[in-house]
């Protein structure tokens, strides 16, 4: 039966057909532009575009939802702290002397009483949230749409030493196995009559903690066997090797590379020359 795979989307798309080098370039450009832009509007548009790109590439909504749920506490905390306490930072960036208040906390509150949430603070938080989302979603857009083997070849072609590329890909391969083993251990615990669904969070946590013992043991045994297997297949023999699959840049790759480069240059020029993308700038 099929096992869970964290990588690889299940259908073909433009993204799956692109060379991994192109996707590496695209991911780099997206991360750089997200890093440069401080505009909440542009940042949000970029994050939205990457999110839509993920969906178009076949990355499951369930995955994106899981990422958002995981990030939600962090993003909420970010919005609150920036909304209330980023006044000085915003003033130094924008030169504004007065900020637009949204509401203030009662002065009687201990320590934070009287703090005011400002519109600019919230917008600055939106900018950081957008950066985070863009960077978080750009990686699966490149990695999940690429077969691990193609990833290795792409990385090697891009100048990454083979063994480093292999270690990277092995980590990706290992994660679903680890996930699968953890699932089977939890299943084994439930088969001992443990009704996890009716346990409180603390008790459930102590039961889950027991997973560590067989999981670590399994990982150690598996790692050693994998090492034996790799050595038995002449993994560490020579620096020269051939490849079953070839990595070639096609017309679509060149178009994407050119567009990515053009986008990066345009974003940088607009930022430096016209303040577009700056916090408090024209857009």
């Amino acid at each position: 039966m099929s096992q869970p795979r964290l990588y690889n989307v299940e259908r073909e798309s433009l993204f799956t057909r692109l060379d991994f080098r192109t996707k590496l370039a695209l991911m780099t450009v997206l991360v750089l532009v997200a890093f440069i832009w401080e505009s909440p509007l542009l940042g949000s548009v970029l994050a939205l575009a990457v999110g839509l790109g993920c969906l178009a590439a076949g990355i499951k909504i369930a995955y994106i939802r899981a990422v958002l749920i995981l990030l939600l506490p962090f993003l909420l905390m970010l919005t609150i702290t920036q909304g209330f306490f980023a006044d000085d930072l915003i003033r130094s960036r924008t030169g504004q002397t007065t900020l637009t208040p949204i509401f203030s906390l009662p002065r009687s509150w201990w320590l934070i009483g009287g703090a005011t949430m400002t519109l600019e603070g919230v917008l600055y938080a939106v900018n950081i949230v957008a950066k985070t989302l863009t960077m978080t979603l750009a990686i699966p857009l490149g990695v999940f749409t690429t077969d691990v083997n193609s990833m290795i070849i792409g990385m090697v072609k891009a100048g990454v030493p083979y063994k480093i590329a292999f270690i990277f890909s092995s980590t990706l391969r290992f994660l679903p196995l680890l996930f699968d083993q953890a699932q089977s251990i939890i299943e084994a615990q439930r088969l001992r009559g443990l009704a996890l669904e009716s346990m409180g969070p603390l008790k459930r946590l102590t039961v889950y903690a027991r997973i560590a013992v067989p999981l670590i043991l399994g990982v150690l045994v598996r790692s050693q066997t994998v090492e034996i297997v790799l050595q038995s297949k002449a993994f560490s023999g020579s620096t020269h090797r051939t490849y079953l699959h070839e990595s070639r840049l096609g017309p679509a790759d060149y178009v994407f590379l050119a567009l990515s480069l053009a986008f990066l240059v345009a974003a940088a020029v607009a930022y430096i020359g016209f303040d577009i993308g700056k916090f408090g700038g024209p857009i």
């Binding site: 039966m1 099929s2 096992q3 795979r5 690889n8 077969d147 691990v148 083997n149 092995s170 391969r173 083993q181 089977s184 251990i185 299943e187 084994a188 615990q189 439930r190 088969l191 001992r192 009559g193 443990l194 009704a195 996890l196 669904e197 009716s198 346990m199 008790k203 039961v207 027991r210 997973i211 013992v213 067989p214 043991l217 399994g218 598996r222 066997t225 994998v226 090492e227 034996i228 297997v229 790799l230 050595q231 038995s232 297949k233 002449a234 993994f235 560490s236 023999g237 020579s238 020269h240 090797r241 051939t242 490849y243 079953l244 699959h245 070839e246």
Partner: protein, 584 residues
């Protein structure tokens, strides 16, 4: 005949151990031979296999004495990567030795590392996939393959190197019987046609007897004997002394010897055994078959008939059960089944027949796509997995995934504490379960420090502590040697005698004749046969049709016993009695 590998007085100790895993082993593997390596678990077979490509001691460390030469290379002086070009290796567990994300990449990996040109790699992929019957699966992810297919892929990956020596460490332990036969036949063909020398460690006695040129018996790290399969498997007493299982025909003829018959040579293959019966009859040493006068063998002789449904109310039942996995595989197609309290049921079938899928429904590990499953009078959909688990104990194939605690005692009491039993009840039940599994002396040890067979007993003890009505053993004999398999099955029999309902899922029919009462044969998600063990095991045509191999003693009986009894034998003892009595 030239040697491809020479082990000269090889001894080996693992790091931080003063026990010899291999002790003064001298063995020559001849060019082009198929050498079988037999021995009980812990004998040193895997270590010996791994010395040949230098993994031992180059990877493991430890203390190594003596000298090994493989294809003219010293195993200590040559790096593993160099030895890998001469020695292909296949390990026992296909799950961990598959590292690529597609079948073709798995095969290509070692070839790429050895700088083999791309066109040659492509040619070899087709060649080896054909050899192991995985054509058309080039693009599949290895994890999408069945257990048997995975192991065939691992073998294909090793074959792709076209090594001079192919070392296989229990390569068929995860396969169904016909898969095992196919792998043996494939390896034999490669051995004969390409001249590849083969060293195969295996417990598959019938197959080694048929295919190996020579056997080496190792026990306690010591090479005890080497010789032809006829010589080694014919020495039934020697094998039994070392907890090894001889081919069933050899056991049958040893029984004839015990009965006073002078057998010139114990046969180890089915064809030899049939011929031996004819020769002994011609020489007047065995009576000629005569079913009219032959007395029936005790306990046998009934005509084959499918079992009638038990008159008791079913404890477990399935009605028109269909199950389709997310990937579209239809694993169960309308299974209807009743299991009464107190039955000992064997569910057999080839890999992928739907055996495990069926039993998982009783525990709500899976819910029916359509149809119903009931435990007692309750639909499983109305019960939680926790509730069902208190009535049905499940022993998984790998006990290590079922062990979480730091001591045997804590492990056995683990679930009880979480289920809210009082300390007194927990203590009493733990005591009972440890006593039943003979683990009282190990109660304070870490479960994972125990041998594999004992770890399985810890899991069984933990299940027994919950006082379940039913215990399911899912592939309990896979990866076990004969002694380990018998130990677990003996426990299952004891539990049955104590009133538990037992369900065993396996494809190792030859082990089950002494245990199972009722047998269900599954194929392609449906029940093909449901009857008493004697009837089903003798339905050899149906068994073969579903890729199961009937026990060899039954095949001998059907070929050599008189027509009135040839479809009612079950064990080597019965077949020997039938032959000795001249017709029954």
């Amino acid at each position: 005949m030239d040697a491809i590998a020479i082990l000269d007085k090889v001894s080996y100790m693992c790091p931080r151990s003063d026990r010899l895993v291999l002790a003064d082993v001298s063995l020559t593997i001849r060019q082009g031979e198929f050498l079988g390596l037999i021995g009980p678990t812990g004998a040193g077979k895997t270590t010996l296999c791994l010395t040949l490509n230098g993994i031992v001691p180059q990877f493991y460390g430890g203390r190594f004495f003596g000298r090994i030469t493989v294809a003219g290379l010293d195993s200590l002086e040559s790096p593993v990567s160099t030895l890998a070009q001469h020695v292909g290796i296949v390990l026992d567990d296909p799950e961990v030795q598959l590292t690529a994300t597609s079948v073709e990449n798995e095969i290509a990996f070692a070839l790429e590392n050895l700088n083999v040109p791309r066109d040659e790699i492509i040619a070899r992929i087709g060649e080896v996939l054909e050899a192991v019957r995985l054509e058309g699966l080039e693009k599949r992810h290895p994890h999408e393959l069945s257990g048997g297919q995975k192991q065939r892929l691992a073998i294909a990956a090793a074959l792709a190197l076209r090594p001079e020596l192919l070392v296989l460490d229990e390569p068929t332990s995860q396969l169904d019987p016909v898969g095992t036969q196919e792998i043996f036949a494939t390896v034999r063909e490669l051995n004969r046609e390409l001249g590849i020398s083969v060293l195969m460690a295996s417990h598959a006695a019938e197959e080694l007897a048929e295919h190996a040129d020579r056997l080496a018996l190792i026990s306690g790290g010591v090479l005890l004997q080497s010789g032809t399969p006829d010589a080694l498997y014919g020495d039934v007493d020697l094998l039994q002394k070392h907890d090894l299982r001889p081919p069933q025909v050899a056991t049958t003829f040893r029984q004839l010897e015990h009965a006073g018959l002078n057998v010139p040579r114990i046969p180890v293959r089915l064809d030899q055994a049939i011929q031996a019966v004819q020769d002994l009859r011609a020489a007047g040493k065995l009576p000629t078959p005569d079913s009219r006068t032959a007395p029936p063998v005790t306990g046998v002789g009934q005509q084959p008939s499918l079992i009638l449904p038990s008159p008791k109310a079913p404890l477990l039942s399935a009605r028109d059960l269909h199950y389709t996995y997310d990937n579209g595989t239809q694993a169960l197609r309308g299974v209807s089944l009743d299991i009464a309290a107190g039955e000992y049921l064997l569910i057999a079938g080839q890999n992928g027949a739907g055996k495990s899928t069926l039993v998982k429904h009783f525990l709500r590990l899976l819910d029916p796509t359509t149809g119903t499953v009931r435990v007692g009078d309750k639909d499983t959909r109305d019960a939680t997995m926790g509730e069902l688990a208190q009535r049905i104990g499940y022993v998984a194939q790998n006990p290590d995934n079922q062990i979480f605690s730091a001591s045997v005692e804590a492990e056995v009491g683990f679930a009880l504490k979480h289920l809210g039993y009082s300390p007194h009840v927990v203590e009493t039940r733990v005591e009972e379960a440890l006593t039943a599994m003979d683990l009282l002396g190990d109660r304070h040890r870490h479960p994972l420090s125990l041998p594999k067979g004992d770890r399985a007993r810890v899991v069984i003890a933990a299940i027994l502590a919950m006082h379940p009505d039913v215990v399911i053993f899912d592939e309990p004999t896979t990866g076990q040697d004969y002694r380990g398999a018998r130990q677990i099955l003996d426990i299952s029999r004891d539990l049955h005698q104590a009133g538990k309902t037992i369900i065993v899922v396996t494809h190792h029919l030859y082990l089950m004749a002494d245990y199972a009462q009722r047998v269900i044969i599954m194929g392609k998600g449906d029940i093909l046969l449901d009857g008493d063990v004697r009837t089903v095991f003798n339905a050899t045509g149906t068994l073969r049709g579903t890729y199961l191999v009937p026990p060899q003693a039954i095949l001998l009986a059907q070929a050599a016993c008189p027509s009135s009894h040839r479809h009612s034998m079950l064990t080597p003892d019965e077949v020997a009695a039938c032959l000795a009595r001249g017709g029954a």
